[in-house]
């Protein structure tokens, strides 16, 4: 069990009557990325807050970085770094001062602290803004400073609560790159996100959280297999063409009223090209085409739907 960064058993938390985490089990091996995926209000932040010693759990056995969370919170704190959902920078201080503050609190020597701060400013593209108060930073810059501050003490386990929410696509990609580099250097990452794509890109294992329960857990591939695949929706000008296409492809669901045909597909370019070529050869004209790839909505609709069915059985 020594190679687990997080081991939680029956983690529970309620606010008054509202059950936020309803007995959750988590295991995160050292050196991997674990992603907790869930919609607004699922309990992601609450889970991060408990695991990072910010708030106490109501119940459950939890080990973080090899220490018992309830009995040795200070040892846990010494091993982790946290970038919360909301900005945790001192807005009155400059970016550089924020990093030096972290270096002092991590008890680095003056020289080491300065070196580390300079290194992180450079790595997070904040050199030009280093001497400006953080209050003047854009959302993306504050987010980067936030993560840079978390990295000052070289924590072995890092919590990232929705690290890319509100970032533009380019910033999101560079954040992903940084996360990959961290894991390559042996760090363990506990990441929450609302985006299936993000979990898919980064995580070794994904857990789906809904209404305080884990409704599914596994690798991205395992989870996708449990979700109905994507499809291509073709619309035709008349029923004749619709029937011809259905007959030709020998698969899919027709809707004669809307004149549409839904063909199961992974939505990739080769599959689309093949489909179009096939229809073209027979001169079956398409009026409209929509590609539908599975997203978080599908995952949740499917899995929460299953939950209800199982529960009523």
């Amino acid at each position: 069990m020594t190679n687990l960064a997080i081991a939680a058993n029956g983690l529970r938390k309620s606010y008054g009557d509202k059950v936020v985490l309803d007995g959750i089990d988590l295991t995160v091996p050292v050196g991997t990325i674990f992603s907790l995926l869930g919609p607004n209000g699922a309990g992601k932040t609450t889970a991060v807050q408990i695991l990072s010693t910010l708030i106490p759990a109501d119940g459950g056995e939890v080990q973080v970085a090899g220490f018992d969370l309830a009995r040795k919170p200070d040892d846990v704190r010494g091993a982790i770094g946290v970038t919360g959902q909301y900005s945790a920078v001192d807005k009155l201080l400059t970016g550089e001062e924020n990093l030096l503050l972290m270096a002092d609190l991590k008890h680095l020597s003056r020289g080491d602290g300065k070196r580390r701060a300079a290194e992180l400013l450079d790595r997070f593209d904040l050199v030009d803004a280093a001497r400006k108060p953080a209050a003047t930073y854009s959302g993306g810059m504050q987010r980067r400073l936030d993560l840079a501050m978390t990295l000052v003490g070289d924590p072995r386990l890092i919590f990232l609560d929705e690290p890319t929410t509100g970032l533009d696509p380019r910033s999101r990609r560079s954040m992903w790159q940084i996360v990959r580099e961290l894991v390559a250097s042996g760090v363990t990452i506990f990441l929450t996100t609302q985006y299936l794509e993000e979990a898919d890109e980064l995580a070794d294992r994904i857990a789906l959280l809904d209404h305080g329960r884990l409704i599914a857990e596994g690798t991205a591939e395992e989870l996708k297999r449990r979700i109905p695949g994507g499809h291509i929706e073709l619309t035709f000008a008349d029923a004749h063409l619709l029937d011809a296409a259905h007959h030709l492809l020998g698969a899919g669901i027709t809707d004669p009223e809307a004149l549409t045909l839904q063909v199961p597909s992974d939505g990739g370019v080769p599959a689309i090209r093949e489909l179009l070529n096939l229809l073209d050869e027979r001169s079956i004209d398409i009026a409209e085409m929509n590609v539908h790839t599975p997203d978080l909505d599908d995952v949740f609709l499917t899995l929460t739907g299953q939950q209800k069915v199982e529960a009523t059985r």
Partner: protein, 258 residues
Amino acid sequence: MSTLSLAMRDNSTMIRRQLKRLLRYPSMTVQLVATPVIILIVFVYVFGGTLGEGLGGGGRDAYVNYVVPGILLMAVATAATGTAVMVASDMTEGIIARFRTMRISRASVLTGHVVGSVIQQLLGMAAVIGIAFALGFRPNATAVEWLAAAGLLTLFVVAVTWLAVALGLRSPTPEAASNAPMPLILLPFLGSGFVPTDSMPTVLRWFAEYQPFTPVMETVRGLLLGTPIGNSGAIATAWCAGVAVISYLWAKNIFNKA
């Protein structure tokens, strides 16, 4: 390094954080000096002539000397409001959540606020005394008496500031925090700050003589101007030490629980 020396390092880190923040927003420090100076000017030039006669002669010049200790304590009470607001708004910042997930001495977050505010207020107090000199304040204290007065005032500032920190922590919003220390501002008036207590009606006089600000003002006045101190010095020290210790424990308790 030992736990103690690490805690000391955290304290000095947090004090530096707070001083930097105060330097970046000097308007608050300026206000800290401006408010008591304006009140000093109003009391000396508007009421001073009459009130000075009532003290047993001496007019305005006698009144400047009488009123300065009260003004200094009022300055501290005013600053308490600023400290409470600052603590309350700091607690709503994400950086505090970050501190809570770090292996640092927790009290250092509060110590930073207290020491920052105390330094700010002592500098402000020195400025107020300087301006009082310009308005005719003429103490006759020896160096030792000045030192004793400074010591008691520092202890008083520490006590009121810890109280302000606790009140700030207890307040749900910065707005609420700005009201909590309000009663403190009245205490110099409801004590011997602006007029001697024996000129007051019985009930008020009883309150004025037993509330904590009065012995502090009497002691400072005695040290700087040679008026009788009696047992005020001991009572003042006991009050300040008591308020400081209780407020410190209270603040630490609230911060650890939240």
